[in-house]
């Protein structure tokens, strides 16, 4: 399976990449929403995108909205991974088309359990 990690923090991308690689995911990275859209043009639809909310250039919520307009990526599961913890933001992310929501800080188990919820357990 293939995943795209979108976060402006290199350390956070590294942590998520490590967790996903242990699950045998091939992992791509982007530092903000615009870069993620560019990366997706190269990779085509991936199985999973982990998307931060607050990033320069294009925010995660705008990336989710944009990606959900594109039918090529309709099979891609999107999980927000963010420090935003208000109910309104969870609702907004789901309405925009995110499938799951993880609040930072998280543990490895949190990611594994959410992948289970999305039907994306270790291949």
């Amino acid at each position: 399976m293939r995943a795209l990690v979108v976060d402006d923090s290199r350390a956070m991308r590294l942590i998520l990449k490590q967790i996903l690689r242990e699950l045998q995911f091939e992992v791509f990275e982007a530092a903000h929403g615009l870069e993620a859209l560019e990366r997706l043009k190269q990779t085509g639809c991936v199985d999973l995108a982990l998307v931060d909310w607050n990033m320069p250039e294009m925010k995660g919520i705008d990336l989710v909205t944009e990606v959900r307009k594109l039918s090529d990526y309709s099979a891609m599961k999107i999980m927000m991974v963010t420090t935003e913890t208000e109910m309104e933001q969870v609702q907004r992310a789901l309405s925009a088309g995110a499938d799951e929501y993880v609040m930072k800080p998280f543990t490895k188990d949190v990611i594994l359990e959410k992948l289970g919820v999305l039907g994306l357990s270790a291949p």
Binding site: T85, E86, M87, V90, Q91, A93, L94, A98, D99, E100, Y101, V102, M103, P105, F106, T107, D109, V110, E113, K114, G116, V117
Partner: protein
């Protein structure tokens, strides 16, 4: 604990040690946690310390823990029971060793989400635990950010919780679905109704064989003839109670009365 498992127990976490270690103490025939601590001090490197560490670390709970039992409940067990009870329209569920409440509330969310017709039924849903502190937490239904991060689908968070400061509380209608009752599995049980579904997961592992037999035997007498029991993934009735048979249900197994 810190030396063996890197887990640090801060002040205020006494209830956690109490709820996790009480079954270990009972399994050894010790009546208090003080006796358990004395035994640990006398043999700090023995097998007991491993059991204590295991109890403190692996007995954790989360929403939708292991997923498959709740899928089986939704796709197989409840549809069968709802059909079988269509005339009497009653259903009794028991969730034993409910800890901080994630398991009973997961079941409550499955009921509310997928079986709205049960609102018109007489559904009695009892959740029990040995710890009064855990029962208080269950009734309150307040969870930290880390707890709601674990296994809870975001759409259920939005639908069944409200934010209170930095924590999250289960909506009152869902809290009202569950009756929380104090019950020591190894001791005398308060009156319980004949049950259609019993969840008794990841708790039998802490008891010796004799106590396991006693508990499973008592569950067998409580189950209705077409009812079923859910055990933890590492638990079985094999060599414990021959009155049960294992049956596949969705991607997991349930235990039914042997015919």
């Amino acid at each position: 604990m810190r030396e063996r498992s890197a887990i640090v127990l801060d002040a205020g976490k006494e209830y956690l040690a109490e709820s996790r270690l009480a079954p270990v103490a009972r399994g050894l025939g010790l009546s208090t946690l003080g006796e358990l601590v004395s035994r640990l001090r006398s043999e700090p490197r023995g097998s007991l310390s491993s059991r204590v560490v295991e109890a403190m670390t692996t007995n954790e709970t989360s929403f939708f823990r292991d997923l498959n039992p709740f899928d089986a409940l939704r796709t197989t067990i409840l549809p069968q029971l709802i059909q079988a009870r269509a005339k009497e329209r009653t259903l009794n569920l028991w969730c034993a060793a409910s800890s901080s409440g994630q398991e009973p509330y997961t079941i409550a969310m499955v009921l509310r989400e997928h079986f709205p017709q049960l609102l018109e039924w007489r559904v009695r849903f009892i959740a029990t635990d040995i710890s009064t502190e855990m029962l208080r937490r269950c009734r309150e239904g307040i969870y930290s950010q880390l707890e709601i991060n674990r296994g809870l689908p975001a759409r259920y968070l939005v639908k069944y919780f409200e934010k209170r400061g930095t924590e999250w509380q289960i909506h009152k209608p869902l809290r009202d679905m569950v009756e929380f009752v104090e019950l020591n599995l190894a001791g005398h049980w308060p009156a319980l109704p004949q049950c259609d579904v019993v969840f008794i997961r990841n708790v039998l592992i802490y008891f010796n064989l004799e106590t396991k037999r006693d508990i499973v035997g008592r569950v067998r007498k409580l189950l209705r003839p077409d009812g079923c029991m859910f055990l933890g993934g590492a638990e079985t009735t094999l060599n414990v109670d021959e009155g049960f048979r294992r049956e596949a249900a969705d991607k997991t197994f349930v235990y039914r009365l042997a015919r």
